[in-house]
Amino acid sequence: MSSQFDESPIDYLSLVGGGRVHGSLYRDPRVFQREIEQIWNKVWVYLGHESEVPNAGDFLRREIGTQPVLIVRGDDGAVRVFFNRCRHRGNLLCNREYGNATTFRCPYHAWTYGKDGALLEPTFEEGYDNSLKREQFGLTLVPRQDAYRGLIFASLSPTGCSLREHLGQVTEFIDLFMDVSPSGEIDLLSGVQKLRYRGNWKLLPENSLEGDYHGPFIHRIAFELHSRRSGLKMSSLYENQVPDVIRSLPGGHMVEDYRGAAMSPPARPPTPARKAYIEAMETRYGQKKAHELLSTIPPLVFVFPNLIYIMTHIRRLQPVSVDETLVYYHPVLLKGAPPEINTARLREHEFGFGPAGFISPDDIEIMERNQVGVQAQGNDWQYIARGLHRVKMMPGGGTSGYTMDENHLRGMWEHYAHLMDRSSSSDVH
């Protein structure tokens, strides 16, 4: 691999494939720069959930790649995504991370905007000969935004596939994890654990959806403590290699689909809250579907490039640089479930996740060491060929593999290489 000072173009298609990924894709600042241009500034990026801005004037600061945006619910109920930048001199318009506002006033020269982004007050307008065309200086909407089941996505590219096309088959799995809510709706209003790691952003999806391969090695003690407490075995799939669990979907998405691996029912009788929850589920979905939803682990889902759902939470990732990444763990509460069920979900979440949890910190430490490991450039390839001999092509595209296979990683990387490839058209995302 060439050094970072080399100006020759990178042939991305040659760096991924045949069960291998090249180490430079984790460490070369030029690769990161191109990811910003080819991926983060183009594809549909997950920003947040509509439940986070329930009322008119509620706002949230988020980023698309490295660009700050502002999500605002208007008086008309619509959620809009604006670039978080004053139209006057480019100051960061909204400095607060979240809150409620009647107007957005830039602190620099007090240009003031409405919840719909309209410029209300440019201040000292006579300096513009009282002829500033306000309608030309409203906040800039991101080129495209859309939502699926309340999940807000935006794309900085004015053209390209629709959100539904981008999501494709992964909606089936988003539905599955949202349908454990007896109202069919989730709520991300219970705060967010924030973490920073010294590693490339792609290490997170690679590690987060890995079936059971690393589990018994780095999570042994956490799994043991969890089983002892819950009576459930977290790693039973490890001994019982199950086919069709690891899914790669078109669009670079990844899924661990546990529908074929029913859990044994919990040993303890259900609490009154649990009973009420099960009844509410049966009322909404009917007994059969409610039973199906409750007898397996909801799927683990990665929606390319930055949304991960695991067990208790939505994990949002944000790249900072080639070797630094931010992670946001948003616990998912179930609207319409008894309060005790949601409180128990929070306690379950804190067991595993966030900076002080018992599971994900071992993953974060592994990723930081991974980033150091790939600085060594002898035999500069990661090997992701597990299950290559038994990979199954799925109708409608994508592949499926056994619990510990790496077919999903191969799918994500193929999609990635396709986006990064210099010769690819701008419409593939």
């Binding site: 991370e97 209003l189 219970s190 705060g191 967010v192 654990q193 924030k194 973490l195 920073r196 790691y197 780095i218 042994r220 003690i221 956490a222 403590l225 407490r229 931010l326 992670v327 763990y329 616990p331 309060p339 949601n342 409180t343 929070l346 306690r347 979440h349 804190e350 067991f351 966030g354 900076p355 002080a356 018992f358 910190p361 071992d362 974060i364 430490e365 592994i366 930081e368 060491r369």
Partner: protein
């Protein structure tokens, strides 16, 4: 120290010494001895997330341990398999600004500030915040009923917190 102390054997100095002892035990990874400082019932070891005053039934915490989970936390740390403790971080914390108030049942509520430096894997990290201890006085000895740690950066993107704070 106020004239609060109906328990004549507890003084401001002994409360401070207790906090210093606790600090030394966690700094030196003496987890079992640290656990023995805790009352076994109604324990709460709490590090709120995002804000100091959150409703833990509706809002996620960074740590929200009852006694069972506290025991698990210690068991995990002692298992030798916590990767972020390989090698063990060198840690020293300074406890200061101790303010003592009596609370109901003759319990003490003790607020203090801390600065903690951890060194591991080629870097030193600084952590700071305020701790609220609820202590029980029994026969002149102190035990911890609850400990709430208000991190300065509980609403920021923080590195791993895989030690006792």
């Amino acid at each position: 120290m106020q004239a609060d102390l109906e328990q004549p054997t507890v003084t401001a100095q002994s409360v401070a010494s207790f906090l210093y002892l606790e600090a030394r035990l966690v700094d030196e990874h003496r987890y079992q001895e640290w656990l023995a400082l805790w009352q076994e019932s109604a324990t709460l070891y709490w590090v709120p997330c995002n804000d100091d005053d959150i409703d833990p039934s509706r809002h996620v915490s960074i740590i929200y341990d009852d006694h069972d989970r506290l025991v698990q936390r210690v068991e995990r740390l002692l298992s030798g398999s916590v990767l972020a403790q390989q090698p063990l971080p060198k840690m020293r914390r300074v406890i200061s600004n101790i303010e003592i108030q009596t609370a109901a049942n003759g319990e003490l509520e003790v607020a203090s500030n801390f600065i903690l430096a951890t060194a591991r894997a080629g870097r030193q990290e600084l952590w700071a915040g305020r701790t609220i201890h609820r202590l029980r006085v029994s026969g002149g000895a102190l035990t911890i009923i609850a400990k709430k740690v208000l991190l300065n950066n509980s609403d920021q993107e923080i590195p791993l917190l895989q030690f006792l704070i």
